[in-house]
Protein backbone atom coordinates (compact mmCIF):
# COMPACT_ATOMS: atom_id res chain seq x y z
CA UNK A 1 0.00 0.00 0.00
CA UNK A 2 1.59 3.30 -1.06
CA UNK A 3 0.69 6.09 1.27
CA UNK A 4 1.05 9.31 -0.69
CA UNK A 5 0.05 12.58 0.86
CA UNK A 6 -2.24 14.70 -1.29
CA UNK A 7 -2.95 18.37 -0.79
CA UNK A 8 -5.68 20.72 -1.85
CA UNK A 9 -4.50 24.01 -3.25
CA UNK A 10 -4.82 25.99 -0.03
CA UNK A 11 -2.95 23.39 2.01
CA UNK A 12 -0.29 23.10 -0.65
CA UNK A 13 0.37 26.85 -0.66
CA UNK A 14 0.46 26.94 3.13
CA UNK A 15 2.87 24.00 3.22
CA UNK A 16 5.12 25.61 0.59
CA UNK A 17 5.18 28.88 2.47
CA UNK A 18 6.12 26.88 5.56
CA UNK A 19 9.06 25.47 3.52
CA UNK A 20 7.84 21.91 3.65
CA UNK A 21 10.07 19.57 1.59
CA UNK A 22 7.40 17.01 1.00
CA UNK A 23 5.02 19.65 -0.36
CA UNK A 24 7.69 20.81 -2.80
CA UNK A 25 8.18 17.23 -3.96
CA UNK A 26 4.44 16.92 -4.45
CA UNK A 27 4.40 20.19 -6.40
CA UNK A 28 7.21 18.98 -8.64
CA UNK A 29 5.67 15.55 -9.24
CA UNK A 30 2.27 16.99 -10.10
CA UNK A 31 3.10 20.05 -12.14
CA UNK A 32 6.56 19.70 -13.67
CA UNK A 33 5.13 17.80 -16.67
CA UNK A 34 2.58 20.49 -17.56
CA UNK A 35 5.09 23.31 -17.12
CA UNK A 36 7.82 21.46 -19.01
CA UNK A 37 5.43 21.01 -21.91
CA UNK A 38 4.73 24.75 -22.21
CA UNK A 39 8.44 25.62 -21.81
CA UNK A 40 9.33 23.17 -24.61
CA UNK A 41 6.75 24.78 -26.87
CA UNK A 42 8.31 28.18 -26.36
CA UNK A 43 12.05 27.44 -26.38
CA UNK A 44 11.80 24.49 -28.83
CA UNK A 45 14.91 22.80 -27.50
CA UNK A 46 15.00 20.10 -24.75
CA UNK A 47 18.38 21.08 -23.29
CA UNK A 48 17.37 24.70 -22.93
CA UNK A 49 13.96 23.61 -21.61
CA UNK A 50 15.70 21.66 -18.81
CA UNK A 51 17.56 24.80 -17.74
CA UNK A 52 14.38 26.87 -17.81
CA UNK A 53 12.41 24.30 -15.80
CA UNK A 54 15.19 24.25 -13.21
CA UNK A 55 15.16 28.03 -12.96
CA UNK A 56 11.37 28.02 -12.73
CA UNK A 57 11.21 25.60 -9.81
CA UNK A 58 14.01 27.35 -7.96
CA UNK A 59 12.09 30.62 -8.42
CA UNK A 60 8.82 29.07 -7.29
CA UNK A 61 10.56 27.89 -4.12
CA UNK A 62 12.20 31.25 -3.48
CA UNK A 63 9.23 33.45 -4.38
CA UNK A 64 6.30 31.49 -3.03
CA UNK A 65 5.80 34.31 -0.47
CA UNK A 66 4.84 36.64 -3.33
CA UNK A 67 2.11 34.33 -4.65
CA UNK A 68 -1.28 36.00 -4.08
CA UNK A 69 -4.26 33.59 -4.31
CA UNK A 70 -6.63 36.55 -4.92
CA UNK A 71 -5.03 37.06 -8.32
CA UNK A 72 -5.28 33.52 -9.60
CA UNK A 73 -4.74 29.85 -8.94
CA UNK A 74 -1.32 28.48 -8.06
CA UNK A 75 -1.00 26.74 -11.42
CA UNK A 76 -1.71 29.98 -13.31
CA UNK A 77 1.02 31.71 -11.32
CA UNK A 78 3.50 28.94 -12.08
CA UNK A 79 2.46 28.86 -15.74
CA UNK A 80 3.15 32.57 -16.08
CA UNK A 81 6.53 32.21 -14.34
CA UNK A 82 7.37 29.43 -16.83
CA UNK A 83 6.27 31.44 -19.84
CA UNK A 84 8.16 34.55 -18.72
CA UNK A 85 11.34 32.59 -18.00
CA UNK A 86 11.14 30.90 -21.43
CA UNK A 87 10.66 34.19 -23.23
CA UNK A 88 13.46 35.84 -21.23
CA UNK A 89 15.72 33.06 -22.41
CA UNK A 90 14.72 33.54 -26.06
CA UNK A 91 15.63 37.20 -25.69
CA UNK A 92 18.87 36.73 -23.79
CA UNK A 93 22.11 37.53 -25.57
CA UNK A 94 23.58 34.09 -24.93
CA UNK A 95 20.68 32.43 -26.66
CA UNK A 96 20.81 34.75 -29.64
CA UNK A 97 24.53 34.03 -30.01
CA UNK A 98 24.15 30.27 -29.66
CA UNK A 99 21.36 30.35 -32.22
CA UNK A 100 23.65 32.06 -34.68
CA UNK A 101 26.29 29.39 -34.10
CA UNK A 102 23.69 26.68 -34.43
CA UNK A 103 22.50 28.09 -37.72
CA UNK A 104 26.08 28.25 -38.93
CA UNK A 105 26.60 24.62 -37.96
CA UNK A 106 23.37 23.63 -39.60
CA UNK A 107 24.52 25.19 -42.79
CA UNK A 108 27.75 23.27 -42.68
CA UNK A 109 26.35 19.93 -41.55
CA UNK A 110 22.94 19.56 -43.02
CA UNK A 111 20.47 17.64 -40.89
CA UNK A 112 22.43 17.34 -37.67
CA UNK A 113 19.75 18.74 -35.40
CA UNK A 114 19.08 15.39 -33.79
CA UNK A 115 18.68 16.96 -30.36
CA UNK A 116 15.74 18.96 -31.59
CA UNK A 117 12.50 17.13 -30.94
CA UNK A 118 9.39 18.10 -32.79
CA UNK A 119 7.12 20.10 -30.58
CA UNK A 120 4.52 20.59 -33.30
CA UNK A 121 2.18 17.95 -32.04
CA UNK A 122 2.11 18.83 -28.36
CA UNK A 123 0.09 21.08 -26.15
CA UNK A 124 -1.31 24.38 -27.23
CA UNK A 125 0.57 24.30 -30.52
CA UNK A 126 -1.77 21.57 -31.73
CA UNK A 127 -4.81 23.78 -31.14
CA UNK A 128 -3.06 26.75 -32.62
CA UNK A 129 -3.00 24.98 -35.97
CA UNK A 130 -6.80 25.10 -36.03
CA UNK A 131 -6.94 28.89 -35.82
CA UNK A 132 -7.32 31.21 -38.81
CA UNK A 133 -3.82 32.04 -40.13
CA UNK A 134 -4.10 35.76 -39.27
CA UNK A 135 -5.17 34.86 -35.71
CA UNK A 136 -2.49 32.21 -35.36
CA UNK A 137 0.31 34.61 -36.20
CA UNK A 138 -0.88 37.02 -33.50
CA UNK A 139 -1.06 34.34 -30.80
CA UNK A 140 2.37 33.05 -31.77
CA UNK A 141 3.85 36.52 -31.51
CA UNK A 142 2.00 37.46 -28.32
CA UNK A 143 1.98 34.25 -26.31
CA UNK A 144 4.90 32.22 -27.59
CA UNK A 145 7.29 35.06 -28.48
CA UNK A 146 6.17 37.51 -25.80
CA UNK A 147 5.77 40.59 -27.98
CA UNK A 148 3.61 43.43 -26.62
CA UNK A 149 0.50 44.49 -28.52
CA UNK A 150 2.33 47.65 -29.59
CA UNK A 151 5.28 45.67 -30.99
CA UNK A 152 2.93 43.36 -32.88
CA UNK A 153 1.08 46.31 -34.41
CA UNK A 154 4.41 47.51 -35.73
CA UNK A 155 5.61 44.12 -36.98
CA UNK A 156 2.33 43.23 -38.70
CA UNK A 157 1.49 46.75 -39.87
CA UNK A 158 -2.00 46.71 -38.38
CA UNK A 159 -3.61 49.20 -36.01
CA UNK A 160 -3.18 48.61 -32.26
CA UNK A 161 -6.95 48.37 -31.73
CA UNK A 162 -7.18 45.61 -34.36
CA UNK A 163 -4.35 43.69 -32.69
CA UNK A 164 -6.21 43.81 -29.38
CA UNK A 165 -9.56 42.69 -30.80
CA UNK A 166 -8.04 39.94 -32.91
CA UNK A 167 -6.02 38.56 -30.01
CA UNK A 168 -9.07 38.48 -27.79
CA UNK A 169 -11.15 36.79 -30.50
CA UNK A 170 -8.38 34.31 -31.13
CA UNK A 171 -8.19 33.50 -27.41
CA UNK A 172 -11.94 32.91 -27.25
CA UNK A 173 -11.69 30.54 -30.21
CA UNK A 174 -8.69 28.79 -28.76
CA UNK A 175 -10.67 28.27 -25.60
CA UNK A 176 -13.45 26.56 -27.55
CA UNK A 177 -10.89 24.14 -28.95
CA UNK A 178 -9.52 23.47 -25.47
CA UNK A 179 -12.91 22.26 -24.23
Amino acid sequence: MGLTVTYNEKELVAALKARNNQAFGYLYDNYSGSLYSIILQIVQNPTLADDVLQEVFVNIWRQIETYDPAKGRLFTWMLNISRNASIDLLRSKNYQDSKKNQELKDNVYQGTRSTQISTDAIGLTRFLAKLRPDYRVLIELAYFKGYTHEEIAEIEHIPLGTVKTRIRNALMQLREFLK
Binding site: F75, N84, Y143, L171
Partner: protein, 272 residues
Protein backbone atom coordinates in the same frame (compact mmCIF):
# COMPACT_ATOMS: atom_id res chain seq x y z
CA UNK B 1 -20.80 47.16 -20.46
CA UNK B 2 -22.50 44.74 -18.06
CA UNK B 3 -20.72 41.97 -16.19
CA UNK B 4 -21.69 39.22 -18.64
CA UNK B 5 -20.44 41.23 -21.61
CA UNK B 6 -17.25 41.99 -19.70
CA UNK B 7 -16.72 38.30 -18.96
CA UNK B 8 -17.22 37.28 -22.58
CA UNK B 9 -15.00 40.05 -24.00
CA UNK B 10 -11.91 37.83 -23.87
CA UNK B 11 -10.44 39.65 -20.87
CA UNK B 12 -10.62 36.49 -18.70
CA UNK B 13 -8.46 34.54 -21.15
CA UNK B 14 -6.04 37.45 -21.75
CA UNK B 15 -5.55 37.99 -18.03
CA UNK B 16 -5.01 34.34 -17.11
CA UNK B 17 -2.57 33.79 -19.99
CA UNK B 18 -0.61 36.91 -19.06
CA UNK B 19 -1.53 38.84 -22.21
CA UNK B 20 -3.49 41.69 -20.61
CA UNK B 21 -1.89 45.12 -20.33
CA UNK B 22 -1.17 46.34 -16.80
CA UNK B 23 -4.20 48.69 -16.87
CA UNK B 24 -6.43 45.85 -18.03
CA UNK B 25 -4.99 43.59 -15.33
CA UNK B 26 -5.64 46.13 -12.57
CA UNK B 27 -9.20 46.64 -13.78
CA UNK B 28 -9.75 42.89 -14.00
CA UNK B 29 -8.49 42.30 -10.46
CA UNK B 30 -10.86 44.99 -9.24
CA UNK B 31 -13.77 43.41 -11.14
CA UNK B 32 -12.89 40.02 -9.62
CA UNK B 33 -13.00 41.42 -6.11
CA UNK B 34 -16.30 43.19 -6.74
CA UNK B 35 -18.17 40.63 -8.85
CA UNK B 36 -18.15 37.01 -7.80
CA UNK B 37 -19.26 35.93 -11.28
CA UNK B 38 -16.15 37.48 -12.85
CA UNK B 39 -14.03 35.65 -10.31
CA UNK B 40 -15.93 32.41 -10.96
CA UNK B 41 -15.38 32.81 -14.73
CA UNK B 42 -11.66 33.29 -14.11
CA UNK B 43 -11.45 30.17 -11.95
CA UNK B 44 -13.40 28.12 -14.50
CA UNK B 45 -10.98 29.06 -17.27
CA UNK B 46 -7.95 28.50 -15.04
CA UNK B 47 -9.15 25.00 -14.24
CA UNK B 48 -9.91 24.26 -17.90
CA UNK B 49 -6.41 25.36 -18.83
CA UNK B 50 -4.78 23.43 -16.00
CA UNK B 51 -6.67 20.24 -16.91
CA UNK B 52 -5.95 20.60 -20.61
CA UNK B 53 -2.23 21.19 -20.08
CA UNK B 54 -1.98 18.32 -17.62
CA UNK B 55 -3.38 16.01 -20.31
CA UNK B 56 -0.46 17.04 -22.50
CA UNK B 57 2.31 17.00 -19.97
CA UNK B 58 5.78 15.93 -21.02
CA UNK B 59 7.92 14.28 -18.36
CA UNK B 60 11.19 16.18 -17.80
CA UNK B 61 14.40 14.12 -17.56
CA UNK B 62 14.57 12.12 -14.28
CA UNK B 63 17.84 13.60 -13.02
CA UNK B 64 16.42 17.13 -13.18
CA UNK B 65 14.43 16.66 -9.98
CA UNK B 66 17.46 15.84 -7.81
CA UNK B 67 19.41 18.65 -9.49
CA UNK B 68 16.71 21.15 -8.54
CA UNK B 69 16.38 19.78 -5.03
CA UNK B 70 20.09 20.03 -4.37
CA UNK B 71 20.11 23.58 -5.78
CA UNK B 72 17.63 24.76 -3.19
CA UNK B 73 19.53 22.86 -0.55
CA UNK B 74 17.31 19.98 0.38
CA UNK B 75 17.29 16.25 0.10
CA UNK B 76 14.89 14.88 -2.44
CA UNK B 77 12.00 13.31 -0.59
CA UNK B 78 11.52 9.85 -1.87
CA UNK B 79 7.95 8.78 -1.52
CA UNK B 80 8.51 5.10 -1.84
CA UNK B 81 5.65 2.82 -1.01
CA UNK B 82 6.04 1.58 2.51
CA UNK B 83 5.89 -2.16 2.51
CA UNK B 84 5.06 -3.78 5.80
CA UNK B 85 7.31 -6.78 5.93
CA UNK B 86 6.54 -9.63 8.17
CA UNK B 87 9.56 -11.49 9.38
CA UNK B 88 8.66 -15.02 10.32
CA UNK B 89 12.23 -15.70 11.44
CA UNK B 90 11.72 -13.42 14.44
CA UNK B 91 8.85 -15.34 15.89
CA UNK B 92 10.58 -18.20 17.64
CA UNK B 93 13.24 -15.89 19.11
CA UNK B 94 11.13 -13.11 20.60
CA UNK B 95 8.13 -15.14 21.56
CA UNK B 96 4.53 -14.87 20.56
CA UNK B 97 3.33 -12.10 22.96
CA UNK B 98 6.03 -9.73 21.79
CA UNK B 99 5.11 -10.47 18.21
CA UNK B 100 1.51 -9.59 19.04
CA UNK B 101 2.64 -6.32 20.66
CA UNK B 102 4.84 -5.44 17.68
CA UNK B 103 2.12 -6.36 15.24
CA UNK B 104 -0.45 -4.21 17.04
CA UNK B 105 1.91 -1.24 17.07
CA UNK B 106 2.42 -1.69 13.34
CA UNK B 107 -1.31 -2.04 12.81
CA UNK B 108 -1.95 1.06 14.90
CA UNK B 109 0.63 3.04 12.91
CA UNK B 110 -0.89 1.79 9.69
CA UNK B 111 -4.31 2.83 10.86
CA UNK B 112 -3.10 6.31 11.88
CA UNK B 113 -1.49 6.78 8.50
CA UNK B 114 -4.57 5.53 6.72
CA UNK B 115 -6.68 7.98 8.69
CA UNK B 116 -4.38 10.86 7.83
CA UNK B 117 -4.53 9.83 4.23
CA UNK B 118 -8.34 9.65 4.27
CA UNK B 119 -8.56 13.00 6.07
CA UNK B 120 -6.46 14.60 3.35
CA UNK B 121 -8.57 13.00 0.65
CA UNK B 122 -11.64 14.31 2.41
CA UNK B 123 -10.29 17.88 2.55
CA UNK B 124 -9.34 17.63 -1.09
CA UNK B 125 -12.85 16.48 -2.01
CA UNK B 126 -14.45 19.31 -0.01
CA UNK B 127 -12.39 21.86 -1.94
CA UNK B 128 -13.34 20.28 -5.24
CA UNK B 129 -16.95 20.19 -4.15
CA UNK B 130 -16.86 23.93 -3.38
CA UNK B 131 -15.42 24.66 -6.78
CA UNK B 132 -18.11 22.57 -8.42
CA UNK B 133 -20.87 24.35 -6.49
CA UNK B 134 -19.46 27.65 -7.66
CA UNK B 135 -19.49 26.70 -11.33
CA UNK B 136 -22.92 25.07 -10.89
CA UNK B 137 -24.35 28.38 -9.62
CA UNK B 138 -22.87 30.10 -12.62
CA UNK B 139 -24.51 27.61 -14.99
CA UNK B 140 -27.87 28.00 -13.24
CA UNK B 141 -27.64 31.75 -13.77
CA UNK B 142 -26.88 31.38 -17.46
CA UNK B 143 -29.73 28.89 -17.78
CA UNK B 144 -32.17 31.27 -16.14
CA UNK B 145 -31.35 34.14 -18.50
CA UNK B 146 -31.66 31.78 -21.48
CA UNK B 147 -35.08 30.67 -20.27
CA UNK B 148 -36.29 34.25 -19.97
CA UNK B 149 -35.10 34.92 -23.51
CA UNK B 150 -36.81 31.75 -24.77
CA UNK B 151 -40.11 32.84 -23.23
CA UNK B 152 -39.88 36.18 -25.01
CA UNK B 153 -39.23 34.42 -28.31
CA UNK B 154 -42.11 32.01 -27.72
CA UNK B 155 -44.56 34.84 -27.02
CA UNK B 156 -43.42 36.66 -30.15
CA UNK B 157 -43.75 33.60 -32.36
CA UNK B 158 -47.15 32.73 -30.86
CA UNK B 159 -48.48 36.21 -31.66
CA UNK B 160 -46.96 36.29 -35.15
CA UNK B 161 -48.46 32.98 -36.27
CA UNK B 162 -51.98 33.87 -35.04
CA UNK B 163 -54.25 33.84 -38.16
CA UNK B 164 -56.21 36.80 -36.78
CA UNK B 165 -53.18 39.02 -37.22
CA UNK B 166 -53.38 41.54 -40.03
CA UNK B 167 -49.90 42.34 -41.32
CA UNK B 168 -48.96 45.84 -42.41
CA UNK B 169 -45.49 46.09 -43.94
CA UNK B 170 -43.85 49.48 -43.54
CA UNK B 171 -40.95 50.12 -45.94
CA UNK B 172 -38.73 53.21 -45.75
CA UNK B 173 -40.33 56.40 -47.07
CA UNK B 174 -38.55 58.42 -49.77
CA UNK B 175 -37.42 61.03 -47.23
CA UNK B 176 -36.41 58.48 -44.60
CA UNK B 177 -33.14 59.37 -42.79
CA UNK B 178 -32.18 55.71 -43.23
CA UNK B 179 -33.08 54.12 -46.58
CA UNK B 180 -32.80 50.55 -45.33
CA UNK B 181 -35.38 51.08 -42.55
CA UNK B 182 -38.23 48.62 -42.30
CA UNK B 183 -40.85 47.62 -39.72
CA UNK B 184 -43.99 45.50 -39.66
CA UNK B 185 -47.24 46.03 -37.75
CA UNK B 186 -49.11 42.94 -36.54
CA UNK B 187 -52.64 44.11 -35.89
CA UNK B 188 -54.98 41.81 -33.98
CA UNK B 189 -58.27 42.03 -35.90
CA UNK B 190 -60.35 41.00 -32.89
CA UNK B 191 -58.72 42.83 -29.95
CA UNK B 192 -57.36 45.65 -32.20
CA UNK B 193 -54.09 45.50 -30.26
CA UNK B 194 -51.04 46.60 -32.24
CA UNK B 195 -47.75 44.64 -32.09
CA UNK B 196 -44.67 45.90 -33.81
CA UNK B 197 -41.76 44.00 -35.35
CA UNK B 198 -38.67 46.13 -35.97
CA UNK B 199 -37.04 44.62 -39.06
CA UNK B 200 -34.43 47.32 -39.26
CA UNK B 201 -34.12 50.73 -37.67
CA UNK B 202 -30.94 52.58 -36.73
CA UNK B 203 -30.22 52.90 -33.02
CA UNK B 204 -31.60 56.27 -31.92
CA UNK B 205 -29.35 58.97 -30.46
CA UNK B 206 -29.62 59.31 -26.66
CA UNK B 207 -32.65 61.32 -25.60
CA UNK B 208 -34.58 60.16 -28.67
CA UNK B 209 -37.18 57.44 -29.03
CA UNK B 210 -39.18 55.98 -31.92
CA UNK B 211 -42.95 56.45 -31.98
CA UNK B 212 -45.56 54.54 -33.98
CA UNK B 213 -48.47 56.51 -35.42
CA UNK B 214 -51.79 55.23 -36.73
CA UNK B 215 -53.16 57.39 -39.54
CA UNK B 216 -56.91 57.65 -38.92
CA UNK B 217 -58.89 59.67 -41.53
CA UNK B 218 -55.74 61.60 -42.46
CA UNK B 219 -54.85 62.43 -38.82
CA UNK B 220 -51.91 60.90 -36.89
CA UNK B 221 -52.88 59.12 -33.64
CA UNK B 222 -50.21 58.02 -31.14
CA UNK B 223 -49.86 54.23 -31.20
CA UNK B 224 -47.04 53.96 -28.69
CA UNK B 225 -43.31 54.49 -28.19
CA UNK B 226 -40.66 51.76 -28.24
CA UNK B 227 -36.95 51.06 -27.97
CA UNK B 228 -34.95 49.14 -30.53
CA UNK B 229 -31.95 48.10 -28.49
CA UNK B 230 -33.70 45.35 -26.56
CA UNK B 231 -32.96 41.66 -27.02
CA UNK B 232 -36.05 40.93 -29.11
CA UNK B 233 -37.44 43.51 -31.58
CA UNK B 234 -41.14 42.52 -31.14
CA UNK B 235 -43.18 44.79 -28.86
CA UNK B 236 -46.80 45.19 -27.81
CA UNK B 237 -48.04 48.76 -28.30
CA UNK B 238 -51.47 50.37 -28.02
CA UNK B 239 -54.99 49.39 -29.07
CA UNK B 240 -56.01 51.12 -32.30
CA UNK B 241 -59.64 50.47 -33.30
CA UNK B 242 -59.40 51.91 -36.79
CA UNK B 243 -56.60 53.10 -39.13
CA UNK B 244 -55.79 53.42 -42.80
CA UNK B 245 -52.00 53.46 -42.43
CA UNK B 246 -49.14 53.26 -39.90
CA UNK B 247 -45.89 55.22 -39.75
CA UNK B 248 -42.85 55.58 -37.49
CA UNK B 249 -41.09 58.84 -36.60
CA UNK B 250 -38.17 59.61 -34.32
CA UNK B 251 -39.28 61.79 -31.39
CA UNK B 252 -37.87 63.08 -28.12
CA UNK B 253 -37.63 60.60 -25.24
CA UNK B 254 -41.18 59.75 -24.04
CA UNK B 255 -42.84 60.59 -27.35
CA UNK B 256 -44.65 63.63 -28.76
CA UNK B 257 -48.25 64.70 -29.25
CA UNK B 258 -47.70 65.43 -32.93
CA UNK B 259 -45.32 63.60 -35.26
CA UNK B 260 -42.12 65.25 -36.43
CA UNK B 261 -42.65 64.85 -40.17
CA UNK B 262 -38.99 65.55 -40.93
CA UNK B 263 -37.97 62.43 -39.08
CA UNK B 264 -40.36 59.89 -40.61
CA UNK B 265 -38.61 56.58 -41.23
CA UNK B 266 -41.20 54.12 -42.52
CA UNK B 267 -44.86 54.04 -43.52
CA UNK B 268 -47.29 51.36 -44.72
CA UNK B 269 -50.96 51.32 -45.80
CA UNK B 270 -53.53 48.95 -44.35
CA UNK B 271 -54.68 46.85 -47.28
CA UNK B 272 -57.65 44.99 -45.74
Amino acid sequence: MNTQEYISSGIVESYVLGLASSEEAIEFELMCSEHSEVRAARITFEMELENRLSLQRVAPPRELKSRIFSLIGMEEVKQEPQVLQSRPALIPRVGFPRFIAAASVILLLGSVMLNLYLLNQYKHSIAQYKELVESQAQLANANHSLNTKMQLFETALYQMKDPRMEIVKMPAVATSPSASSMATVYWDTSSRLVWLLVNQLPKPASGKQYQLWAIVDGKPVDAGIFDVDEGIPFVKLKTIPRAQAFAITLEKQGGSLKPNMDAMYVMGKVTG
